[in-house]
Subunit: 246 residues, 2 copies
Amino acid sequence: MATVHLIGAGPGAADLITVRGMRLLQQADAVLYDALVQPEMLAYCPQAVLIDVGKRCAKASTAQRFINKMLIDAARKYPRVVRLKGGDPMLFGRAQEELDALAEAGITAEIVPGITAALAASADAGISLTSRGLARNVLFATARVGEGEHASDWVKPVLAADTAVLYMGVKQSAAIAQALLEGGMASNTPILIVENASLPNSREWAMTLAELPQAASWELVGPAILMIGEVYRPALAQTEQRRAVA
Amino acid sequence: MATVHLIGAGPGAADLITVRGMRLLQQADAVLYDALVQPEMLAYCPQAVLIDVGKRCAKASTAQRFINKMLIDAARKYPRVVRLKGGDPMLFGRAQEELDALAEAGITAEIVPGITAALAASADAGISLTSRGLARNVLFATARVGEGEHASDWVKPVLAADTAVLYMGVKQSAAIAQALLEGGMASNTPILIVENASLPNSREWAMTLAELPQAASWELVGPAILMIGEVYRPALAQTEQRRAVA
């Protein structure tokens, strides 16, 4: 029985995968990849059967069962199978569901970590998530806005952290801003939005929490994260200076 | 004037640096590296002048000024300078101080992200930091225990997060456990300690918060992180099962 390698592809740029991840791709017989994986990264494995298991067009839960089945089928058919996931598999990667399915099928899984978007965005922006005297901790979260019992569970940890990064939240910017303001976050709290971290078409915007709702109407072409905290104050000041000059 | 590349070496294993990081090492004229960087990683740059700027033996603040100076001197002397830091530069890497010093000296810096220890430890353990329905956010923090106005600032964000990872805290396990229990964390909260994540001599231990103080007396040989949250409940159950059998 094969070992499946669950590999973090990283934030997007083909050379921000790990050396181990690249080498395993180069040796793979079959590669199952996500919608977030850039085509350039698949150039590492021209020899492999490529299986697109992107979730963009299907209901998430159905899609996950389908991916689990595809993964198990591939592991029974090919000796070297890679499951390539955008970012890091263990952080918002829903790897646990695939790991559990593989374990139930008696298939060994090995995990290769990947660069998560927040780290790539921080490198792009040149701003540390933590900074001596200013930010000693950082929270990575997803903001679930809407109805239901747990709809605002994300607010308290975001308020408690020095720096917070919200994955996949920009479309809900208005609701996010409202929840944070109601929770007591200062309206002039600096926010940095980074789209397509690490890619040539990467973009970033600094703004205050009060200005955040405007982002809900932006036409973003790629994944974006929302970074919140005092470490972004100098970036905000630069943006405001540019506006004053213009 | 040179561009300095500030590169995250990742958690330790030489092949868990990014492909971009490896390629820049292969082309470097001078490499300034940390105490956390493994010797195997320096095999990527046999052509480079190697400068050890490990901080283990000096006072942190003096050492940082010294590193800043070494970095600027190297950038003035060599065309391709790499500053190689354990983990990711933007997360507990104190990169901001080096970036600010370089900017003041008029030297361009480019940052290459690295795999942070928490992601490598999660891959080693096969346990996701986030998990549907169980953990929707994760906090990365350092636990400053002891005297002073801000001594317990880390407690509240740890309590608010679903999963929390404390970097560099194992020696203070007793004080950490006391602070979390006083803050209201349940004494049976599962904890996973991972030492030397990604390295061949990696070790991990699962325990409850009540049992955490014992870790303070352990003889650890490498960097260790402390991971807290319900996602580690199955790992804890396995440990308790093994104990019951033994």
